[in-house]
């Protein structure tokens, strides 16, 4: 299993409905595979009967039948493995990068054209859980930043995670907060490097990271009460 797939599965914990849908799909695929395998086994048994008629020696027949059964079992395994990978591919097709409002969930993105591999969209109170999953999977925090979508009257908060492995997997976790009351829990307890990144985001966008013990300006002057990256900021 590739690291992208592994991480995607780990992140599914955040979205029980999605996980349930996927589990159902997997179960259905497995059931189908079982039916198919049963049919094949029946066909094999038929062969066996024919063989029975053809071959006089019973021992030889038994040996043949056993080997046939074994190969059927092996086929079944292969089928199952093939089916298990399918839901991911299906999902990729099902969820194109839509332009309008996005639903919570996980999207696999093309690294060559986007620079990221997994794009997670979640509720503001889920970012701590997401950070915990990323930390457990051995990721490090690359950056935290905001985007001011003034026309939609909301602020986007973006967390970038990356890992040191030889296989590429960059994860983006994003969420929206309101523009009037921008509040989001801090992930500092999970990722100490978030300390400065959150202070910077607070400087530039005025997003309050609740639970942050030291949310004072880091890059702006210590008495700054403005947030320059908001689109309606005038110096």
């Amino acid at each position: 299993m590739s690291i992208v797939e592994e991480t995607r599965r780990a992140l599914l914990v955040l979205f029980p409905e999605l996980a349930a849908v996927e589990e159902e799909a997997r179960a259905a695929a497995q059931a189908e595979a079982e039916i198919q395998a049963a049919e094949e086994a029946a066909a094999a048994e038929k062969d066996e009967n024919e063989m029975d008629a053809l071959l006089a020696e019973r021992d030889a027949v038994r040996l043949d039948a056993e080997s046939a059964k074994q190969s059927v079992a092996a086929d079944e395994d292969n089928l199952e493995a093939a089916e298990q990978e399918d839901p991911a591919a299906e999902k990729k097709e099902k969820e194109p990068e839509e332009e309008g409002p996005r639903e919570n969930g996980i999207v696999l993105t093309d690294h060559a054209s986007r620079g990221t591999d997994i794009d997670v969209f979640c509720d503001p109170d889920q970012v701590v859980a997401a950070a915990g999953i990323m930390d457990e999977a051995g990721f490090f925090l690359e950056a935290i930043t905001g985007v001011d979508w003034i026309k939609e009257d909301k602020l986007e908060v973006i967390y970038d995670y990356n890992q040191y492995g030889q296989e590429q997997c960059r994860v983006v976790v994003r969420t929206f907060v309101s523009r009037t009351e921008p509040e989001i829990p801090t992930i500092m307890d999970v990722m100490p490097s978030a300390d400065w990144h959150e202070r910077e985001t607070h400087d530039f966008y005025g997003i309050r990271f609740t639970g942050h013990p030291n949310l004072i300006p880091i890059l702006l002057p210590e008495d700054a009460d403005f947030h320059p990256l908001l689109k309606d900021f005038t110096p």
Partner: protein, 372 residues
């Protein structure tokens, strides 16, 4: 009659290191709570040279931000040129001619050499050695002269363009670069390693000092030589190959000692690896155009894009958010030293002040890059 001085360990005092202190290389201030010579708490105070480059990016069109990129990490300005170009080229779907890619790699690696040489000089100056500075600057000048010939500037380059580079390189540059590499190769073992790396004073000041464990490095998001000195085999040029780096044969030096000496050794080895890359690129340099045809005003499709490059200090990321207009909707700059420095408070705790300064030097800080 003299009375012996009584040391009271419950008494601490605050020491301001910087913002104008030669050891902080720029305007970094560190608020130190001291117990005698020992650091109880270290708190870096940033922002003295903050210029809000991210806002400037939103104000102009894509090309107008290009000169700004060189003014963040002024020691490895071409890597910032490269990172920004990669992000915009990814967003706008621009193909770069092969010769331009090779020239990019050659100039970026030469710039990396100047960065490491200057770090080496300044680091040893921190530790009290003056003459290494003169040797390193002698070598660095040679590269600056070469780069000046083709880029037009010596420090804050604006040489890359979307879809290529501004100028083609000429035979004199190629001959000069070969000659320089030969010269640096002959000087490295004697002037750099015999004189400094093997010096017992240097070893005593760096070995076992400033321990940054592998786990700490990960939790603080360290990259570049700082991470590689802590046993993390991570180099964007290898892990997330961009440009024509996969075509070259080079190693990523990794040291497991986790101390200041390990970080020192990583950079010294990287000087050699950079020379290897430059040589291979010059040998294989293809013919052709150095700039693709690109419209003057770019309007990339809406969406967000990330591009990472390896600068002399680590993973530099650009997050570009476009909304289909002619200026970036948002540009986030992920500077490597910002993350690398964030571990300072934890690591410097309990250290001698002089050791903490050696540790700070081994992080290779460039303050305008942290403050942006």
């Amino acid at each position: 009659m003299s009375v012996p001085v009584q040391c009271r360990h419950d008494e601490t005092f605050v020491l301001n290191l910087g913002p104008q202190h030669p050891a902080t290389h720029g305007v970094l201030r560190v608020k130190l709570t001291m117990d005698g010579e020992y650091i109880v708490k270290a708190e870096p105070v940033l922002g003295y040279i903050h210029r809000m480059h991210e806002k400037m990016a939103e104000d102009g069109n894509f090309a107008q931000f290009m000169p700004n990129t060189a003014r963040m990490d002024y020691l490895h300005a071409l890597a910032y040129n490269h990172g920004y170009c990669l992000a915009v080229e990814r967003a706008a779907g621009i193909e770069v001619p092969e010769r331009a890619e090779y020239i990019r790699v050659i100039t970026v690696e030469m710039n990396r050499l100047t960065s490491h040489l200057l770090w080496w000089a300044a680091f040893l100056l921190d530790l009290g050695g003056f003459s290494p500075l003169l040797y390193a600057f002698d070598d660095r000048e040679q590269i600056l002269d070469l780069l000046e010939r083709i880029t037009g500037s010596r420090l804050t380059y604006c040489y890359f363009r979307f879809g290529g580079v501004y100028n083609d390189i000429d035979d004199e540059f190629i001959a000069g670069t070969y000659a320089f590499i030969k010269r640096l190769r002959s000087r490295l073992p004697r002037l750099y390693h015999d004189l400094v790396t093997g010096n017992i004073i240097l070893i005593k000041r760096l070995k076992g000092i400033g321990m940054l464990s592998k786990e700490q490095a990960r939790r603080y998001g360290c990259t570049g030589p700082v991470a590689r000195g802590s046993g993390i085999n991570y180099d964007v040029r290898k892990n997330e190959p961009y440009s024509v780096y996969p075509e070259f044969d080079f190693d990523v030096p990794v040291y497991n000692e986790c101390d200041s000496m390990a970080r020192y050794m990583v950079r010294m080895d990287e000087i050699e690896q950079s020379m290897r890359i430059i040589e291979q690129a010059l040998d294989k340099l293809p013919d052709g155009p150095v700039r693709a045809k690109v419209p003057k005003i770019l309007k990339p499709a809406a969406g967000d894009y990330w591009a990472s490059v390896e600068t002399a200090r680590g993973n530099l990321g650009h997050r570009l958010v476009c909304d289909g207009k002619k200026n970036p909707y948002k540009l986030k700059l992920r500077s490597p030293t910002f993350s690398n420095l964030s571990c300072f408070g934890e690591v410097a705790e309990g250290m001698l002040l002089a050791d903490a300064l050696a540790f700070m030097g081994s992080l290779d800080l460039v303050i305008p890059e942290i403050d942006r």
